[in-house]
Symmetry: C2
Subunit: 219 residues, 2 copies
DNA sequence: AATTAAATTTAGACAAAGCTAAATAATAAA
DNA sequence: TTTATTATTTAGCTTTGTCTAAATTTAATT
Protein backbone atom coordinates (compact mmCIF):
# COMPACT_ATOMS: atom_id res chain seq x y z
CA UNK A 1 0.00 0.00 0.00
CA UNK A 2 1.25 3.46 -0.80
CA UNK A 3 1.12 5.79 2.16
CA UNK A 4 1.70 9.51 2.28
CA UNK A 5 4.20 11.01 4.70
CA UNK A 6 1.34 12.25 6.87
CA UNK A 7 -0.22 8.80 6.99
CA UNK A 8 3.10 7.26 7.99
CA UNK A 9 3.51 9.77 10.78
CA UNK A 10 0.04 8.97 12.09
CA UNK A 11 0.62 5.22 11.98
CA UNK A 12 3.90 5.58 13.84
CA UNK A 13 2.36 7.85 16.46
CA UNK A 14 -0.53 5.45 17.02
CA UNK A 15 1.96 2.64 17.46
CA UNK A 16 3.87 4.70 20.00
CA UNK A 17 0.79 5.61 22.02
CA UNK A 18 -0.83 2.22 21.84
CA UNK A 19 1.00 0.70 24.80
CA UNK A 20 -0.31 -2.82 25.09
CA UNK A 21 -3.66 -2.80 23.37
CA UNK A 22 -5.77 0.00 24.79
CA UNK A 23 -7.25 2.32 22.19
CA UNK A 24 -5.55 5.61 21.42
CA UNK A 25 -7.73 8.68 21.94
CA UNK A 26 -8.25 11.44 19.43
CA UNK A 27 -6.90 14.07 21.77
CA UNK A 28 -3.78 12.12 22.71
CA UNK A 29 -2.94 11.60 19.07
CA UNK A 30 -3.57 15.25 18.25
CA UNK A 31 -1.22 16.28 21.05
CA UNK A 32 1.47 13.79 20.00
CA UNK A 33 1.36 14.97 16.39
CA UNK A 34 1.01 18.63 17.29
CA UNK A 35 -2.20 18.95 15.36
CA UNK A 36 -5.90 19.42 16.11
CA UNK A 37 -8.43 16.77 17.14
CA UNK A 38 -10.59 17.57 14.13
CA UNK A 39 -7.69 16.72 11.84
CA UNK A 40 -7.16 13.44 13.65
CA UNK A 41 -10.77 12.46 13.11
CA UNK A 42 -10.39 13.15 9.41
CA UNK A 43 -7.25 11.07 9.15
CA UNK A 44 -8.78 8.26 11.21
CA UNK A 45 -11.41 7.82 8.53
CA UNK A 46 -8.74 7.56 5.84
CA UNK A 47 -6.61 5.08 7.77
CA UNK A 48 -9.65 2.97 8.50
CA UNK A 49 -10.49 2.99 4.80
CA UNK A 50 -6.96 1.70 4.14
CA UNK A 51 -7.45 -0.99 6.80
CA UNK A 52 -4.52 0.18 8.89
CA UNK A 53 -6.57 0.94 11.98
CA UNK A 54 -9.75 -0.16 13.69
CA UNK A 55 -11.85 2.86 14.40
CA UNK A 56 -15.45 3.49 15.41
CA UNK A 57 -16.75 6.95 16.24
CA UNK A 58 -16.00 7.91 19.82
CA UNK A 59 -14.28 4.55 20.43
CA UNK A 60 -10.66 5.45 19.86
CA UNK A 61 -8.09 3.96 17.51
CA UNK A 62 -6.10 0.73 17.43
CA UNK A 63 -3.75 -0.58 14.75
CA UNK A 64 -4.76 -3.59 12.71
CA UNK A 65 -2.10 -6.27 12.24
CA UNK A 66 -1.37 -4.68 8.85
CA UNK A 67 -1.06 -1.27 10.54
CA UNK A 68 1.30 -2.65 13.15
CA UNK A 69 3.48 -4.17 10.46
CA UNK A 70 3.62 -0.83 8.70
CA UNK A 71 4.45 0.98 11.93
CA UNK A 72 7.31 -1.38 12.65
CA UNK A 73 8.82 -0.72 9.23
CA UNK A 74 8.74 3.00 9.85
CA UNK A 75 10.21 2.61 13.32
CA UNK A 76 12.94 0.44 11.84
CA UNK A 77 13.83 3.08 9.31
CA UNK A 78 13.74 5.83 11.91
CA UNK A 79 16.03 4.08 14.34
CA UNK A 80 18.50 2.87 11.75
CA UNK A 81 18.92 6.39 10.40
CA UNK A 82 19.48 7.59 13.95
CA UNK A 83 22.24 5.03 14.31
CA UNK A 84 23.77 6.16 11.05
CA UNK A 85 23.77 9.80 12.10
CA UNK A 86 25.35 9.07 15.47
CA UNK A 87 27.76 6.29 14.53
CA UNK A 88 28.89 7.48 11.11
CA UNK A 89 28.28 11.22 11.03
CA UNK A 90 29.09 11.96 14.67
CA UNK A 91 25.82 13.62 15.55
CA UNK A 92 24.88 13.62 19.19
CA UNK A 93 21.78 11.85 20.41
CA UNK A 94 19.68 14.96 20.83
CA UNK A 95 20.15 16.05 17.23
CA UNK A 96 19.09 12.95 15.38
CA UNK A 97 15.40 12.56 16.05
CA UNK A 98 14.34 15.49 13.87
CA UNK A 99 16.45 14.35 10.94
CA UNK A 100 15.33 10.74 11.26
CA UNK A 101 11.76 12.03 11.29
CA UNK A 102 12.31 12.94 7.63
CA UNK A 103 14.70 10.21 6.54
CA UNK A 104 12.28 7.53 7.77
CA UNK A 105 9.93 8.37 4.90
CA UNK A 106 12.27 7.25 2.15
CA UNK A 107 10.67 3.92 1.42
CA UNK A 108 13.04 1.32 0.08
CA UNK A 109 13.51 -2.12 1.54
CA UNK A 110 16.78 -2.49 -0.24
CA UNK A 111 18.12 0.81 1.03
CA UNK A 112 17.20 0.14 4.62
CA UNK A 113 18.52 -3.40 4.61
CA UNK A 114 21.82 -2.28 3.16
CA UNK A 115 21.99 0.55 5.65
CA UNK A 116 21.41 -1.94 8.44
CA UNK A 117 24.22 -4.15 7.14
CA UNK A 118 26.50 -1.15 6.78
CA UNK A 119 25.88 -0.31 10.43
CA UNK A 120 26.50 -3.89 11.54
CA UNK A 121 22.81 -4.67 12.06
CA UNK A 122 22.45 -2.78 15.33
CA UNK A 123 19.65 -3.85 17.67
CA UNK A 124 19.25 -0.68 19.69
CA UNK A 125 19.22 2.95 18.61
CA UNK A 126 21.11 5.87 20.21
CA UNK A 127 18.33 6.33 22.77
CA UNK A 128 18.30 2.71 23.85
CA UNK A 129 15.20 1.78 21.87
CA UNK A 130 15.13 -1.60 20.11
CA UNK A 131 15.32 -1.73 16.31
CA UNK A 132 12.86 -4.05 14.52
CA UNK A 133 14.54 -6.41 12.06
CA UNK A 134 13.50 -6.77 8.42
CA UNK A 135 10.58 -8.94 9.54
CA UNK A 136 9.40 -6.52 12.19
CA UNK A 137 10.74 -8.55 15.08
CA UNK A 138 12.66 -6.86 17.84
CA UNK A 139 14.69 -8.24 20.68
CA UNK A 140 12.40 -7.87 23.63
CA UNK A 141 14.18 -5.33 25.76
CA UNK A 142 15.89 -6.59 28.88
CA UNK A 143 13.82 -5.66 31.91
CA UNK A 144 14.29 -2.02 32.77
CA UNK A 145 12.60 0.48 35.07
CA UNK A 146 12.47 4.24 35.33
CA UNK A 147 15.17 5.49 37.65
CA UNK A 148 12.60 6.88 40.09
CA UNK A 149 11.25 3.38 40.69
CA UNK A 150 14.50 1.47 40.83
CA UNK A 151 15.06 -0.46 44.03
CA UNK A 152 18.60 -1.71 43.46
CA UNK A 153 21.41 0.64 44.48
CA UNK A 154 23.89 0.15 41.65
CA UNK A 155 22.40 0.71 38.22
CA UNK A 156 23.24 1.13 34.58
CA UNK A 157 21.43 3.47 32.18
CA UNK A 158 19.74 1.51 29.39
CA UNK A 159 17.49 4.04 27.64
CA UNK A 160 15.77 7.41 27.81
CA UNK A 161 12.02 7.39 27.41
CA UNK A 162 11.51 11.09 26.73
CA UNK A 163 13.67 12.11 23.81
CA UNK A 164 13.17 15.82 23.80
CA UNK A 165 16.24 17.88 22.98
CA UNK A 166 15.86 19.52 26.38
CA UNK A 167 16.21 16.31 28.37
CA UNK A 168 18.98 14.91 26.21
CA UNK A 169 20.93 18.14 26.42
CA UNK A 170 20.54 18.09 30.21
CA UNK A 171 21.86 14.54 30.36
CA UNK A 172 24.79 15.52 28.14
CA UNK A 173 25.61 18.36 30.51
CA UNK A 174 25.63 15.98 33.45
CA UNK A 175 27.62 13.29 31.66
CA UNK A 176 24.81 10.74 31.66
CA UNK A 177 24.57 8.48 28.63
CA UNK A 178 23.64 4.94 27.66
CA UNK A 179 25.77 2.53 29.66
CA UNK A 180 26.55 5.05 32.39
CA UNK A 181 26.84 3.34 35.75
CA UNK A 182 25.43 5.08 38.78
CA UNK A 183 24.53 4.57 42.36
CA UNK A 184 21.51 5.95 44.18
CA UNK A 185 22.71 7.96 47.15
CA UNK A 186 19.43 9.32 48.45
CA UNK A 187 15.75 9.91 47.78
CA UNK A 188 14.41 13.24 48.96
CA UNK A 189 10.77 12.87 49.89
CA UNK A 190 9.95 16.57 49.63
CA UNK A 191 10.03 16.72 45.83
CA UNK A 192 10.97 13.13 45.03
CA UNK A 193 14.32 14.26 43.75
CA UNK A 194 17.10 11.68 43.67
CA UNK A 195 20.76 12.05 44.46
CA UNK A 196 23.01 9.91 42.31
CA UNK A 197 26.73 9.26 42.16
CA UNK A 198 28.77 8.37 39.09
CA UNK A 199 32.36 7.19 39.26
CA UNK A 200 34.95 9.95 39.36
CA UNK A 201 32.28 12.65 39.66
CA UNK A 202 30.74 14.55 42.54
CA UNK A 203 27.24 13.34 43.38
CA UNK A 204 24.34 15.13 41.79
CA UNK A 205 20.66 15.59 42.51
CA UNK A 206 18.12 15.24 39.71
CA UNK A 207 14.42 16.05 39.69
CA UNK A 208 11.66 13.48 39.63
CA UNK A 209 10.85 14.66 36.10
CA UNK A 210 14.30 13.67 34.92
CA UNK A 211 14.43 10.44 36.93
CA UNK A 212 11.14 9.24 35.45
CA UNK A 213 12.67 9.38 31.98
CA UNK A 214 15.94 7.60 32.64
CA UNK A 215 15.54 3.87 32.21
CA UNK A 216 17.89 1.64 34.19
CA UNK A 217 18.55 -1.94 35.17
CA UNK A 218 20.45 -3.34 38.10
CA UNK A 219 24.14 -3.69 37.47
CA UNK B 1 12.98 30.49 2.28
CA UNK B 2 11.03 27.34 2.96
CA UNK B 3 10.30 25.33 -0.15
CA UNK B 4 8.04 22.34 -0.60
CA UNK B 5 9.32 19.14 -2.18
CA UNK B 6 7.45 19.98 -5.38
CA UNK B 7 9.01 23.43 -5.54
CA UNK B 8 12.47 21.96 -5.04
CA UNK B 9 11.90 19.48 -7.84
CA UNK B 10 10.84 22.29 -10.17
CA UNK B 11 13.83 24.46 -9.30
CA UNK B 12 16.21 21.59 -9.88
CA UNK B 13 14.58 20.70 -13.19
CA UNK B 14 14.74 24.30 -14.38
CA UNK B 15 18.42 24.38 -13.47
CA UNK B 16 19.00 21.20 -15.44
CA UNK B 17 17.19 22.42 -18.54
CA UNK B 18 18.57 25.93 -18.46
CA UNK B 19 21.81 25.18 -20.29
CA UNK B 20 23.63 28.47 -20.51
CA UNK B 21 20.98 31.11 -20.14
CA UNK B 22 18.21 30.44 -22.60
CA UNK B 23 14.74 30.35 -21.09
CA UNK B 24 13.13 27.02 -20.26
CA UNK B 25 9.83 26.38 -21.98
CA UNK B 26 6.65 25.28 -20.27
CA UNK B 27 6.42 22.13 -22.34
CA UNK B 28 10.02 21.10 -21.78
CA UNK B 29 9.61 21.46 -18.05
CA UNK B 30 6.34 19.54 -18.07
CA UNK B 31 8.02 16.72 -19.96
CA UNK B 32 11.05 16.68 -17.66
CA UNK B 33 8.88 16.54 -14.54
CA UNK B 34 6.36 14.15 -16.05
CA UNK B 35 3.50 16.52 -15.46
CA UNK B 36 1.20 18.72 -17.56
CA UNK B 37 1.94 22.15 -19.04
CA UNK B 38 -1.00 23.64 -17.15
CA UNK B 39 0.57 22.53 -13.87
CA UNK B 40 3.86 24.10 -14.87
CA UNK B 41 2.19 27.42 -15.54
CA UNK B 42 0.59 27.31 -12.08
CA UNK B 43 3.89 26.54 -10.39
CA UNK B 44 5.71 29.19 -12.42
CA UNK B 45 3.48 31.81 -10.83
CA UNK B 46 4.34 30.55 -7.36
CA UNK B 47 8.07 30.40 -7.99
CA UNK B 48 7.99 33.87 -9.46
CA UNK B 49 6.16 35.07 -6.34
CA UNK B 50 8.99 33.56 -4.28
CA UNK B 51 11.55 35.31 -6.49
CA UNK B 52 13.22 32.06 -7.53
CA UNK B 53 12.54 32.51 -11.24
CA UNK B 54 11.99 35.23 -13.77
CA UNK B 55 8.81 34.55 -15.64
CA UNK B 56 6.51 36.47 -17.95
CA UNK B 57 3.57 34.90 -19.70
CA UNK B 58 4.59 33.09 -22.86
CA UNK B 59 8.23 34.10 -22.34
CA UNK B 60 9.61 31.01 -20.63
CA UNK B 61 11.41 30.60 -17.33
CA UNK B 62 14.89 31.41 -16.06
CA UNK B 63 16.29 31.08 -12.56
CA UNK B 64 17.11 34.20 -10.57
CA UNK B 65 20.49 34.23 -8.78
CA UNK B 66 18.58 33.18 -5.64
CA UNK B 67 16.94 30.34 -7.59
CA UNK B 68 20.27 29.18 -8.95
CA UNK B 69 21.73 29.10 -5.46
CA UNK B 70 18.80 27.01 -4.29
CA UNK B 71 19.16 24.66 -7.23
CA UNK B 72 22.84 24.13 -6.51
CA UNK B 73 22.07 23.16 -2.93
CA UNK B 74 19.58 20.56 -4.09
CA UNK B 75 21.98 19.24 -6.72
CA UNK B 76 24.67 19.02 -4.03
CA UNK B 77 22.43 16.97 -1.79
CA UNK B 78 21.34 14.74 -4.65
CA UNK B 79 24.84 13.94 -5.80
CA UNK B 80 26.28 13.43 -2.34
CA UNK B 81 23.56 10.93 -1.50
CA UNK B 82 24.31 9.15 -4.77
CA UNK B 83 27.94 8.89 -3.70
CA UNK B 84 26.90 7.54 -0.34
CA UNK B 85 24.70 4.89 -1.87
CA UNK B 86 27.36 3.73 -4.30
CA UNK B 87 30.47 4.07 -2.15
CA UNK B 88 29.10 2.99 1.22
CA UNK B 89 26.04 0.87 0.50
CA UNK B 90 27.31 -0.78 -2.70
CA UNK B 91 24.45 0.25 -4.92
CA UNK B 92 25.19 0.34 -8.61
CA UNK B 93 24.98 3.56 -10.56
CA UNK B 94 21.65 2.86 -12.19
CA UNK B 95 19.88 2.34 -8.88
CA UNK B 96 20.76 5.51 -7.06
CA UNK B 97 19.03 8.30 -8.91
CA UNK B 98 15.53 7.38 -7.74
CA UNK B 99 16.59 7.13 -4.12
CA UNK B 100 18.58 10.36 -4.24
CA UNK B 101 15.50 11.99 -5.72
CA UNK B 102 13.90 11.57 -2.31
CA UNK B 103 16.90 11.92 -0.03
CA UNK B 104 17.77 15.27 -1.61
CA UNK B 105 14.73 16.82 0.07
CA UNK B 106 15.98 16.37 3.61
CA UNK B 107 17.11 19.91 4.24
CA UNK B 108 19.94 20.21 6.72
CA UNK B 109 23.18 22.00 6.06
CA UNK B 110 24.80 20.21 8.92
CA UNK B 111 23.71 16.80 7.72
CA UNK B 112 24.89 17.35 4.20
CA UNK B 113 28.22 18.85 5.21
CA UNK B 114 28.91 15.95 7.55
CA UNK B 115 27.89 13.52 4.87
CA UNK B 116 30.30 15.20 2.49
CA UNK B 117 33.12 14.92 5.03
CA UNK B 118 32.23 11.29 5.70
CA UNK B 119 32.55 10.59 1.99
CA UNK B 120 35.87 12.42 1.74
CA UNK B 121 34.37 15.49 0.06
CA UNK B 122 33.97 13.93 -3.37
CA UNK B 123 33.87 16.28 -6.36
CA UNK B 124 32.09 14.06 -8.85
CA UNK B 125 29.11 11.76 -8.42
CA UNK B 126 28.75 8.19 -9.69
CA UNK B 127 27.65 9.44 -13.11
CA UNK B 128 30.60 11.77 -13.53
CA UNK B 129 28.66 14.92 -12.67
CA UNK B 130 30.39 17.57 -10.56
CA UNK B 131 29.23 18.12 -6.96
CA UNK B 132 28.76 21.73 -5.83
CA UNK B 133 30.59 22.55 -2.61
CA UNK B 134 28.92 24.12 0.43
CA UNK B 135 29.09 27.51 -1.30
CA UNK B 136 27.59 26.25 -4.52
CA UNK B 137 30.86 26.24 -6.41
CA UNK B 138 31.82 23.30 -8.54
CA UNK B 139 35.04 22.36 -10.21
CA UNK B 140 34.45 23.28 -13.81
CA UNK B 141 34.48 19.93 -15.52
CA UNK B 142 37.51 19.11 -17.61
CA UNK B 143 36.64 19.47 -21.27
CA UNK B 144 34.65 16.49 -22.47
CA UNK B 145 32.66 15.64 -25.56
CA UNK B 146 30.00 13.10 -26.44
CA UNK B 147 31.59 9.97 -27.83
CA UNK B 148 29.90 10.47 -31.21
CA UNK B 149 31.75 13.75 -31.68
CA UNK B 150 35.14 12.74 -30.37
CA UNK B 151 37.98 13.16 -32.83
CA UNK B 152 40.83 11.62 -30.86
CA UNK B 153 41.24 7.84 -31.18
CA UNK B 154 42.11 6.87 -27.62
CA UNK B 155 39.58 8.07 -25.07
CA UNK B 156 38.52 7.73 -21.46
CA UNK B 157 34.90 7.77 -20.25
CA UNK B 158 34.28 10.74 -17.96
CA UNK B 159 30.48 10.87 -17.52
CA UNK B 160 27.10 9.73 -18.81
CA UNK B 161 24.70 12.46 -19.77
CA UNK B 162 21.51 10.41 -19.88
CA UNK B 163 21.08 8.61 -16.59
CA UNK B 164 18.13 6.41 -17.34
CA UNK B 165 18.25 2.97 -15.84
CA UNK B 166 18.06 1.59 -19.36
CA UNK B 167 21.25 3.24 -20.57
CA UNK B 168 23.18 2.56 -17.37
CA UNK B 169 22.15 -1.08 -17.39
CA UNK B 170 23.29 -1.34 -21.02
CA UNK B 171 26.68 0.13 -20.14
CA UNK B 172 26.98 -2.28 -17.23
CA UNK B 173 26.30 -5.17 -19.56
CA UNK B 174 29.04 -4.00 -21.90
CA UNK B 175 31.52 -3.28 -19.11
CA UNK B 176 31.62 0.45 -19.73
CA UNK B 177 32.02 2.64 -16.65
CA UNK B 178 33.63 5.89 -15.53
CA UNK B 179 37.34 5.72 -16.28
CA UNK B 180 36.99 3.02 -18.90
CA UNK B 181 39.55 3.47 -21.66
CA UNK B 182 38.53 2.81 -25.21
CA UNK B 183 39.61 3.26 -28.75
CA UNK B 184 37.42 4.17 -31.72
CA UNK B 185 37.79 1.49 -34.37
CA UNK B 186 35.26 2.68 -36.92
CA UNK B 187 32.37 4.98 -37.69
CA UNK B 188 29.59 3.48 -39.78
CA UNK B 189 27.96 6.16 -41.86
CA UNK B 190 24.76 4.24 -42.47
CA UNK B 191 23.36 4.66 -38.94
CA UNK B 192 26.20 6.59 -37.31
CA UNK B 193 27.00 3.65 -35.12
CA UNK B 194 30.49 3.44 -33.69
CA UNK B 195 32.75 0.47 -33.19
CA UNK B 196 34.88 0.69 -30.08
CA UNK B 197 37.53 -1.48 -28.53
CA UNK B 198 38.35 -1.85 -24.85
CA UNK B 199 41.43 -3.63 -23.57
CA UNK B 200 41.08 -7.41 -23.18
CA UNK B 201 37.67 -7.38 -24.82
CA UNK B 202 36.39 -8.02 -28.32
CA UNK B 203 35.40 -4.84 -30.12
CA UNK B 204 31.80 -3.79 -29.96
CA UNK B 205 29.48 -1.59 -31.97
CA UNK B 206 27.19 0.87 -30.25
CA UNK B 207 24.35 2.95 -31.62
CA UNK B 208 24.48 6.68 -32.13
CA UNK B 209 21.89 6.99 -29.33
CA UNK B 210 24.29 5.40 -26.88
CA UNK B 211 27.37 7.23 -28.19
CA UNK B 212 25.67 10.60 -27.78
CA UNK B 213 25.30 9.95 -24.07
CA UNK B 214 28.78 8.75 -23.26
CA UNK B 215 31.05 11.68 -22.42
CA UNK B 216 34.75 11.20 -23.07
CA UNK B 217 38.02 13.05 -23.17
CA UNK B 218 41.23 12.23 -25.01
CA UNK B 219 43.51 9.96 -23.08
C1' DA C 1 -1.73 38.29 -45.17
C1' DA C 2 -4.57 34.66 -43.93
C1' DT C 3 -4.75 30.21 -42.12
C1' DT C 4 -3.25 26.36 -39.56
C1' DA C 5 -0.68 24.31 -36.01
C1' DA C 6 1.68 24.32 -31.75
C1' DA C 7 2.54 26.22 -27.30
C1' DT C 8 0.79 28.29 -23.41
C1' DT C 9 -2.49 30.00 -20.24
C1' DT C 10 -7.06 30.17 -17.96
C1' DA C 11 -11.14 28.22 -15.83
C1' DG C 12 -12.98 25.03 -13.07
C1' DA C 13 -12.52 20.74 -10.50
C1' DC C 14 -10.39 17.41 -7.24
C1' DA C 15 -7.67 15.08 -3.45
C1' DA C 16 -4.76 15.63 0.59
C1' DA C 17 -4.06 17.71 4.86
C1' DG C 18 -4.84 21.04 7.65
C1' DC C 19 -7.74 24.75 10.35
C1' DT C 20 -11.85 27.13 13.19
C1' DA C 21 -16.33 27.21 14.95
C1' DA C 22 -20.39 24.84 15.96
C1' DA C 23 -22.83 20.60 17.08
C1' DT C 24 -23.10 16.32 19.40
C1' DA C 25 -21.78 12.51 22.51
C1' DA C 26 -19.71 10.74 26.60
C1' DT C 27 -18.21 11.52 31.23
C1' DA C 28 -18.01 13.63 35.62
C1' DA C 29 -20.13 16.46 39.19
C1' DA C 30 -23.68 18.11 41.78
C1' DT D 1 -30.76 12.18 37.62
C1' DT D 2 -30.08 16.51 35.91
C1' DT D 3 -26.33 19.57 34.86
C1' DA D 4 -21.87 20.86 33.61
C1' DT D 5 -17.55 19.65 31.55
C1' DT D 6 -14.72 17.41 28.41
C1' DA D 7 -13.97 14.77 24.26
C1' DT D 8 -15.09 14.03 19.71
C1' DT D 9 -17.14 14.79 15.43
C1' DT D 10 -19.17 17.58 11.67
C1' DA D 11 -19.45 21.47 8.56
C1' DG D 12 -17.35 24.62 5.97
C1' DC D 13 -13.08 26.84 4.45
C1' DT D 14 -7.93 27.16 3.00
C1' DT D 15 -3.57 25.86 0.70
C1' DT D 16 -0.84 23.01 -2.32
C1' DG D 17 -0.35 20.57 -6.31
C1' DT D 18 -2.43 18.28 -9.71
C1' DC D 19 -5.73 17.47 -13.73
C1' DT D 20 -8.93 18.23 -18.17
C1' DA D 21 -11.08 21.06 -21.40
C1' DA D 22 -11.45 25.39 -23.40
C1' DA D 23 -9.51 29.78 -24.68
C1' DT D 24 -5.77 32.48 -26.19
C1' DT D 25 -1.27 33.63 -27.95
C1' DT D 26 2.68 32.75 -30.74
C1' DA D 27 4.89 30.50 -34.53
C1' DA D 28 4.79 28.27 -38.89
C1' DT D 29 2.72 27.51 -43.42
C1' DT D 30 0.45 28.28 -47.21
MN1 LIG E 1 8.32 11.42 10.17
MN1 LIG F 1 15.48 7.01 18.87
MN1 LIG G 1 13.42 15.04 -5.81
MN1 LIG H 1 24.03 11.61 -10.64
Amino acid sequence: MNLTVAEENYVKAIYKLQEGDQAVTTNALAYELDTKPASVTDMAKKLKEKKLIDYEKYQGITLTPEGRKTALQIVRRHRLWECFLVDKLSFSWEEVHELAEELEHVRSEKLINRLSDFLGNPVIDPHGDPIPDAHGRMAKPRPQTPLDQANAKRLVVTAVSDQSTALLAFLNAKGIKLGTQLEIVAHYEFDNSIEIKMKHLPSLTISEQVAKNIMVRPL
